[in-house]
């Protein structure tokens, strides 16, 4: 399972490095969304820092949905899907590999967006850095849930279902992530929200390992 996971993750990341969709399309979209959010709030610095954590996660959600669809599209052509299926890869390993690749891509994007949030939404740098581990875990949980729901809505025709179907699963993660980042900004304890994200990450990984084969077959 671990061997397959590394193989799939390396392949997905290599494809991303070759296609440069993340760098030239997704990250610029996220930055523009963040800038527009800042413009919508107006010039009041205090209002920015109060809404900043929520806006950061809202933009992260939009970017995540783009990346989840992209993650699925790599194998979406019928020929490639059939050909890869005949490799007989361990489904749990495929799930872990795709989750890892998606998490790495989202971590890169989140790092850029966090820097943008400091600059545009005036989040305090020190507090934002202290919340970085929480952001890492939240984004990893988003990647795990996204890989699962991506398999559920796999295929071009149902790709537009992804946002609708996945939002109930993403909502608790986003709320916990936002609370955690807000707690860091206001210098309150953030560990309880972090624990919630860790539990969600472990739960989604376990569900994916157990169910990914069923989702792929159907």
């Amino acid at each position: 399972m671990i061997t397959t996971a590394w193989l799939v993750a390396r392949k997905d990341l290599l494809i991303e490095a070759r296609s440069r969709v993340l760098i030239w399309q997704v990250v610029p979209f996220g930055v523009m969304a963040l800038l527009l959010s800042g413009l919508a709030l107006g010039p009041t610095r205090a209002g920015h820092s109060g809404a900043g954590p929520g806006l950061f996660y809202l933009v992260t959600l939009l970017v995540a949905i783009l990346m989840i669809n992209r993650n699925r599209a790599i194998e979406s052509s019928p020929g490639t899907h059939a050909s890869v299926a005949t490799l007989g890869l361990d489904p749990a390993g495929v799930f872990l590999g795709k989750t890892l690749a998606l998490a790495v891509e989202l971590w890169v994007t989140a790092a850029v967006l966090l820097a943008g949030a400091v600059l545009v939404l005036h989040l305090p740098l020190g507090a934002t850095l202290s919340a970085a581990p929480s952001v890492l875990v939240t984004v990893a949980a988003l990647a795990a849930a996204g890989t699962l729901y991506g398999a559920l809505t796999g295929g071009d025709a149902s790709a537009t279902l992804l946002p609708v179907l996945s939002l109930p699963a993403f909502a608790p993660l986003l709320i916990a992530g936002e609370r955690s980042l807000s707690a860091a900004v206001t210098h309150q304890g953030l560990w309880q929200w972090w624990v919630l994200d860790v539990v969600a990450l472990v739960a989604y990984l376990a569900i994916g390992i157990l169910l990914y084969a069923v989702l792929e077959e159907t």
């Binding site: 397959t4 193989l7 392949k11 290599l14 494809i15 070759r18 296609s19 790599i74 052509s77 019928p78 020929g79 490639t80 059939a82 050909s83 299926a85 005949t86 490799l87 007989g88 890869l89 489904p91």
Partner: protein, 219 residues
């Protein structure tokens, strides 16, 4: 089953349903080791569905069948898939990866030695394009990359869905030669095509499908 002839694939009254619609409506088929079988028929006859059933890519709804010794009804289809090779009429690989990177992924996934890659690339005539991304290859070159993928796999049963589509005469001749070599090496090949193969030298067994049923098996 010592009383039965050696058979790579054997279907009896095989039915495949999709949303209640029969893609295959009771197919009998035998594929012997080292043989070439050509499945012909009009669009929608069930040619691709038959190949997908043989590759373990769709489930058998009723009837019985074994492929490379694995029962289609009760066996592990993932194990079956590892032992067949599939070449679809669309691209069968990752467009953003190079020729070598695609083959390296397949070889690693199947635990095949990476030493075989260069030989496979040279065999299909892509030696000069080994670092080219698959999306930049011509239709014929993409088809050759699909063949290299199959060579690396060393599959026991090759399933080729409309392999002659968008190939020029040279490409078709290359395909015929390679298929002949594969069969001579002991692997079996099942090809779907609209029309019977032109190459008499291959002496294939032709099966004609219409409406998900075999209407004309010929020796």
């Amino acid at each position: 089953m010592a009383d039965q002839p050696a058979s790579v694939a054997r279907l009896r009254d095989a039915v495949v349903l999709s949303a209640g619609f029969p893609l295959l409506a009771g197919v009998d088929l035998d594929v012997t080791p080292g043989s070439l079988t050509v499945v012909t028929g009009p669009n929608g006859a069930g040619k691709t569905s038959l190949l997908r059933l043989l590759g373990g890519l769709v489930a058998l709804s009723s009837g019985s069948g074994t492929v490379v010794g694995i029962d289609l009804a009760t066996g592990d289809r993932r194990l079956l898939r590892r032992r067949v090779g599939w070449l679809g009429h669309e691209g069968s690989f990752y467009d953003d990866l190079s020729v070598t990177e695609n083959l390296r992924f397949a070889a690693r996934a199947l635990g095949r030695p990476l030493d075989d890659l260069d030989a496979a690339i040279e065999r299909v005539g892509l030696g000069a394009r080994r670092r080219t991304a698959a999306r930049r290859l011509s239709a014929g070159q993409r088809r050759r990359l699909g063949l290299a993928w199959l060579l690396v796999r060393r599959a026991e049963l090759w399933l080729l869905d409309e392999p002659y589509a968008s190939l020029d005469d040279e490409g078709r001749e290359f395909f015929d030669v390679l298929i002949g070599e594969v069969c001579a090496g002991g692997a079996s090949v099942v090809v779907s095509a609209h029309d019977p193969l032109r190459s008499a030298a291959l002496a294939p067994r032709t099966v004609r499908l219409v409406g998900g049923r075999v209407v004309a098996p010929t020796a």
